[in-house]
């Protein structure tokens, strides 16, 4: 076969040689004599046995053949044409536009980059997926050998498939870890990754930090998958089992959810393309992915599936994200409240903070000893954002009226929001007023929450925040601020507490200037405040309940103690 297809003469397997060789293999497998002329017949697709894997022939193979039969005659004619233009490999490659995205990999046989190939391969396979959803269950181990079978989707894809498959089979012996790559449905496209990253940012602005379990749970629950499935997805994606999701883990989880919603069954184990190391490694190199994907997705009309996936993902994300910002803020607020209350109750937490963030800042740290994993993550977030800012904070806010601070604070903080740095000013004003904070220690919860949802109102209510709770609210405030940049100064009118009123009064002049936009902003702020209030009230009642139970336990224990004491004395 090698001789026939001309590889021996040329000295390497160029694209044409590949195609011819594969057709000859198919001919040989189907019992036809191996000759140049046999290529012209309609042939079934060649079958490759996976040496590494099960070695089974794909059950998708026969299914694919049906679809492939129609296209094979086309392919054979094209191959004949290719045969004639034997010398002009490169020209052939450039001629067919659909080959262009994949032209670069095949053109350099010794440099087959597995990943771009597999990307292209995966895109190709996506085109066939619409026809054959069934093979997916066995997709993972069968991926490579599915290549030949699924390549029947189209003549041009088949050509690519052929080249890809050949490269795969050649490289299979060379590199063991190629098997995971052609796993198309588990591969995250660049578009999808952007979505995931944006969603991650909406939950947690610092991309290098964690999303806590409760936040992620609320978010993923919106996807309306069943709880056991979500639980299983979590199990798969949280690789270090720390109860929190880093960005790659989050992307993996999101992708699994999207896949599940589109009907793919969940895998037994985390696919290699979704593992955190792979995703993290893939992050810094988006550039070669994007051109491949973009050009390819445009050129191949059959490439519906990933688009559908993306589209569906978009719609599902939009569904999920219908009210993502406020609710997530609220959940973030819950955490902050939890944290602030715990922090208020246990001032020693502050001293613990330097210790814990170091642990939780390490990506693989396991905060097992802490009952509140969310708290530790929050503190990590807080700490991660704190370092640049703490020193200036106390000074700025100390003796001056908060309102003055606010004006100055907002303006410089507007550009700061984009920079991603934690803007100290907005959070700081309240800190130096311990008397104020003490007075409103209970009311703090409400103003804090009001603050967070009503981004612009952060200034005045933020004053009352305890220092501990400031940093965690910052990310959310910052995010909102980017949304309501123009409406920043307007929210104060909706603030609740007394100390804030001073600031609000002083802010009114600036408010009046933009009254038209204010109303909308105010209304949204009111709505958000109400939601936050409701959530807080609920949380409060739950916490009260817990407090009661704890008190009862304590009483019971003390009783026991007293009962035991006289016994021991004797």
């Amino acid at each position: 076969i090698t001789e026939l297809c001309g590889a021996k003469r040329v000295g390497y397997f160029g694209p044409t040689q590949f195609y011819i060789a594969l057709k000859l293999i198919a001919a040989a497998q189907s019992g036809l004599p191996v000759r140049i002329e046999s290529i012209k017949c309609e042939l079934p697709l060649p079958r490759f046995m996976m040496s590494k894997n099960d070695g089974e022939i794909r059950f998708g193979n026969p299914a694919e053949l049906h679809g492939a039969k129609v296209q094979i005659p086309y392919l054979t004619t094209e191959k004949n044409s290719f045969k004639r233009m034997d010398d002009e490999d490169k020209q052939q490659e450039t001629q067919s536009p659909t080959m262009s995205p994949l032209a670069s990999p095949p053109s350099s046989p010794p440099h087959y980059q597995r990943v771009p190939l597999s990307h292209g391969y995966s895109k190709l396979r996506s085109g066939t997926e619409q026809m054959h959803p069934a093979p997916y269950e066995a997709r993972q181990p069968l991926v490579q050998t599915e290549g030949p079978s699924s390549g029947g989707a189209g003549p041009k894809p088949l050509r690519h498939q052929a080249s890809l498959i050949r490269s795969f089979s050649v490289e299979r012996e060379l590199q063991d870890n190629s098997s995971g790559y052609p796993d198309e449905p588990w591969r995250i496209t660049a578009e999808q990754r952007e979505y995931y990253v944006n969603q991650f940012r909406s939950l947690q602005p610092d991309p290098s930090s964690f999303i806590s379990g409760s936040v992620a749970k609320n978010f993923f629950t919106k996807s309306k998958l069943s709880i056991p499935e979500l639980s299983y997805i979590w199990e798969l994606s949280d690789a270090d089992c720390d109860g929190a999701l880093t960005l790659p883990e989050f992307c993996a989880a999101f992708h699994l959810i999207v896949a599940r919603k589109n009907g793919y069954p969940l895998p037994e184990g985390l696919p290699p393309t979704l593992q955190p190391e792979y995703l993290q490694a893939a992050f810094p190199k988006p550039k070669w992915e994007c051109p491949l994907f973009d050009s390819y997705s445009e050129t191949l009309p059959a490439n519906q599936q990933p688009r559908d996936l993306n589209r569906i993902e978009k719609t599902s994300i939009k569904d999920m994200a219908d009210f993502p910002v406020p609710t997530q803020d609220v959940t973030g607020d819950d955490k902050q409240v939890l944290k602030s209350t715990t922090n208020e109750a246990l001032p020693k937490d502050v001293s613990e903070d330097p210790a814990t963030p170091k642990d939780s800042n390490n990506l693989k740290a396991r905060p097992r000893s802490r009952s509140y994993s969310s708290t530790s993550i929050e503190e990590a977030m807080k700490r991660g954002e704190d370092p640049p800012t703490p020193p200036p904070r106390p000074q700025k806010t100390h003796s001056r009226a908060a309102s003055l601070d606010l004006n100055k604070v907002f303006q410089p903080s507007v550009p700061a929001t984009k920079s991603g740095l934690l803007p100290p000013p907005p959070a700081l004003p309240p800190r130096p007023c311990p008397s104020q904070s003490e007075q409103v220690s209970e009311a703090d919860i409400l103003p804090q929450l009001n603050r967070a949802p009503s981004q612009a109102a952060e200034g005045s209510p933020a004053k009352k925040d305890t220092p501990y709770s400031q940093p965690p609210s910052k990310p959310i405030r910052r995010k909102f601020r980017s949304e309501h940049q123009t409406a920043e100064n307007h929210e104060p009118s909706t603030t609740v507490s007394g100390p804030a009123s001073v600031a609000t009064v002083k802010l009114h002049p600036t408010v009046q200037k933009q009254s038209s936009k204010q109303k909308k902003a105010i209304q949204t702020a009111i709505r958000k405040n109400k939601e936050a209030n409701a959530v807080l009230a609920r949380l409060n009642s739950e916490l009260q309940q817990q407090l009661k139970e704890v008190h009862q336990e304590r009483i019971a224990l003390e009783n026991q103690l007293e009962q035991l004491r006289p016994v021991t004395v004797l």
Partner: protein
């Protein structure tokens, strides 16, 4: 090695119970149930003892002619009970401890899953796999 492993919640209902498939499962369920009394006895005897790895491990709860039953309790009063075949000679204490430690770690992983509500039955596949590996170990 172990023929039956059970995770019992604080309120003494089972969160997870798995026996080696060849055996009569009901018998093991009864054994685990009766061992709960012994566990409670040991817990109350500990009293105000500091929580320590050593005291999490309860040791041999009681031996029967065919089996030995070991116990382990966590800080949140979740109990692990393991029934071991007596014919498996010389299963050292350390090995049992290490098995319990692995159980505890897997249980913590299950807990970390935010979709898991404490008090639910444990349906995690990873936990399942770990338990199965422990049960098939020395067969």
């Amino acid at each position: 090695m172990a023929v039956c492993i059970a995770v019992i919640a604080k309120e003494n209902y089972p969160l997870y119970i798995r026996s080696a498939p060849t055996e009569n499962e009901l018998k093991f369920h009864y054994m685990v149930h009766t061992s709960l009394d012994v566990v409670d006895e040991k817990i109350s005897a500990m009293g105000k003892a500091l929580v320590d790895q050593r005291e999490l491990y309860l040791g041999l709860l009681y031996p029967t002619e065919d089996y030995k039953v070991y116990g382990y309790v966590t800080n949140s009063k979740v109990k692990f009970v393991m029934v071991v075949d007596s014919s498996n000679t010389a299963l050292r204490d350390n090995e049992i401890r290490s098995m319990f430690r692995k159980l505890h770690n897997s249980y913590t992983d299950v807990m970390c899953n935010p979709f898991y509500n404490p008090g639910d039955r444990i349906q995690s596949r990873a936990f399942d796999n770990m338990v199965m590996s422990m049960m098939v170990q020395v067969c």
